[in-house]
């Protein structure tokens, strides 16, 4: 690509260049094999992170790519003329391969399988504690009294509650696929595992080996296990759900191509989870990315810079005379260019005014055309037929308007007719029908092919599982543009109190009246 410039310090280019050599499905799979707990669905957002640390994934996958890793990590600057440059078709081909790849599902199934196994083990442990004495030494067991049987009921209900709670918290369809493990979930899974193992250890040593006859004690032991599991579930709720609710950081998200900016308040999240939240909000808040609007400004900038290339060929430590001459020459050129720049301001102003006028003229014609049309059909028709009847008369005005505002690639004929049928069905006025064409909406409003939901890359200097901090900056890169995210901490507010004595609020109304007697 000729418009690429040299970047150094970011290793993402290494990921991208690596992609050019991997035309198979394994290209991005490597990045995801490290993620243990996150799972993916067909509609999820994929975030790919370049490996910034030694990988934790299984060695078998990595064996074939060890050489490529080293090569990637030592590449610093990639210019547009190197052999690693990608063309647009390459990228599209890679992304299509990603969509069809089978290897990615394996990770998801692994996660689901692990969680189900863990859940079964945890759920069956108390039951096993209760049943094993009856199986192994039933004759020596002391009979279970009333209190003990009461405990059975409590175990049953607590297990039921635990089951429902775990289902509610953990078995939800995932929103996104994350590049690294979800740290809190992994921690909780480890905690639960250790906990259950320690209980089993105790049980095995003190109860199974010694064949304890006190059944009530065993039942109480099982009840204590279930209680502790419920408390761990409470901990899970606090860590996974409650902790990030209170807003702590304000994130400023800017789109690199046209500067559209939004601000979001987030709690204490890791960078990858914050990225997911931002992307979900991106689809609903940011106006759709329209590359056609950028070409105008680019052409103007190109024209303006055409005659102005100042190279400082001499290094900083050179001969003063030579440097002085070069500097004075460049200064002269810059001055000439500055004078030229004055006229380009004028150009910009008039161009924009002209464009504005044109857009308004077309918009007026369009609104009039549609309003005239909507009054027409008298006979009863199916909405689709009505739409097809109305459409041709206003199609031209609509097309011209879309072309003037450079939106014509966002709306196909089919979609316009569908929208027309929809607005006829719902008794919308012409203005309501036109609303989606007159203003650019968020990306979700347009067809799925515009979403590009599987092609986001998270670029960050800090590790993506580390938490957000004040001043964290990361990039979310899509094919055409990137979102620059900066973090700022919400300030700590110190409130002072001022007490106003209610008595001081009493006012005396002083009159001066005169009475005649």
């Amino acid at each position: 690509m000729d418009t690429e410039s040299a970047y150094s310090g970011y290793s993402y280019y290494s990921g991208r260049s690596r992609g050019s050599h991997r035309h198979g499905e394994r290209s991005r799979d490597r990045h995801k094999s490290r993620s243990k707990e996150s799972s993916r669905s067909e509609k999820s957002v994929t975030i790919n992170a370049p490996p910034a640390e030694p990988l934790l994934g299984d060695q078998s996958v990595r064996g074939e790519e060890v050489q490529d890793d080293n090569w990637g990590e030592t590449t610093t600057a990639v210019t547009g003329t190197s052999e690693h440059s990608l063309s647009q078709e390459d990228i599209v081909r890679i992304s299509k391969d990603l969509d069809d790849s089978v290897g990615l599902d394996c990770k998801r199934y692994l996660n689901v399988a692990l969680s189900v196994i863990l859940g079964l083990v945890v759920f069956l442990t108390p039951l096993a504690f209760l049943i094993l004495p009856h199986l192994l030494w039933p004759d020596r067991l002391r009979a279970c009294g009333t209190a003990c049987e009461g405990l059975f009921i409590s175990v049953a209900f607590k297990l039921l509650i635990l089951l429902l709670a775990v289902w509610a918290l953990f078995f939800r369809p995932p929103r996104a696929g994350l590049p690294r493990i979800f740290v809190f979930r992994a921690l909780l899974a480890t905690l639960v595992l250790l906990f259950v193992l320690s209980y089993w250890l105790f049980y095995g040593v003190r109860i199974l080996d010694s064949q304890d006859e006190d059944y009530q004690g065993i039942v109480q032991y099982a009840v204590s296990l279930v209680d502790a599991l419920l408390f761990i579930h409470y901990l899970a709720i606090v860590l996974l759900e409650l902790r990030q609710l209170q807003p702590f950081f304000s994130l400023c998200v800017t789109r690199s191509t046209d500067g559209a900016t939004q601000h979001y308040n987030l709690g204490q999240l890791s960078i990858q989870r914050a990225a997911v939240v931002i992307l979900e909000n991106y689809y609903k808040d940011f106006p759709v990315h329209n590359p056609a609007l950028l070409t105008a400004s680019k052409s103007r900038a190109a024209k303006h810079l055409a005659g102005l290339k100042v190279y400082n060929v001499d290094g900083p430590g050179e001969n003063n005379a030579a440097a002085g001459i070069a500097q004075s020459q460049s200064r002269a050129m810059i001055a000439a260019a500055a004078r030229r720049r004055d006229s380009s301001h004028n150009e910009l102003y008039y161009e924009e005014a002209e464009h504005e006028r044109r857009v308004r003229k077309r918009r007026a014609r369009l609104v009039v055309a549609v309003e005239e049309q909507k009054k027409a059909p008298g006979d009863v028709m199916d909405p689709r037929e009505a739409a097809q009847a109305i459409f041709p008369s206003m199609a031209r005005a609509l097309q011209k308007y879309l072309r003037t505002t450079r939106q014509q690639h966002l709306h196909s004929m089919e979609s316009i007719q569908q929208h027309l049928a929809f607005s006829i069905t719902n008794n919308m006025t012409p203005k309501a029908f036109l609303e989606s064409y007159l203003t650019t909406g968020p990306t979700l409003q347009y067809g799925k092919d515009r979403w590009l939901a599987r092609q986001w890359t998270l670029i960050s200097e800090a590790s993506v599982t580390s938490g957000l901090k004040d001043g964290t900056v990361f990039l979310l890169k899509c094919i055409d543009f990137s979102l620059v995210v900066t973090t700022k901490k919400i300030p700590y507010i110190q409130l002072a109190e001022e007490f106003i004595d209610p008595k001081s609020h009493k006012f005396m109304l002083r009159l001066q009246s005169e009475t005649s007697v």
Partner: protein, 125 residues
Amino acid sequence: MSFIPGHPVTAVVQRIEIHKLRDGDNLILGFSIGGGIDQDPSQNPFSEDKTDKGIYVTRVSKGGPAEVAGLRMGDKIMQVNGWDMTMVTHDQARKKLTKKNEDVVRLLVTRKSLENAVRQSMMQH
């Protein structure tokens, strides 16, 4: 006539006896009062001390019983029929003056000129 809280007030006073005039159902005295402890003393044009909340005569109607009896505008009323007028509200003062069963009110009033006169006469001696 300065007032020090907690100390008795001393003033040179003049006794004035006003016979009320019957006008239909009303008994009128023929003057207007202003002031009182619930009023704003700073607006009183007749008082020397602008924190004085006493009852002052603001107007004397011409030819009325008050003028006949010798009441002048700017007089401070100290007592009405024995009732104290230095620490009363405006309405209390009005009530004490307009009692329907009294035909005569005996006032003790003071004014600056009285003091001057007394001082002068004392200085002569």
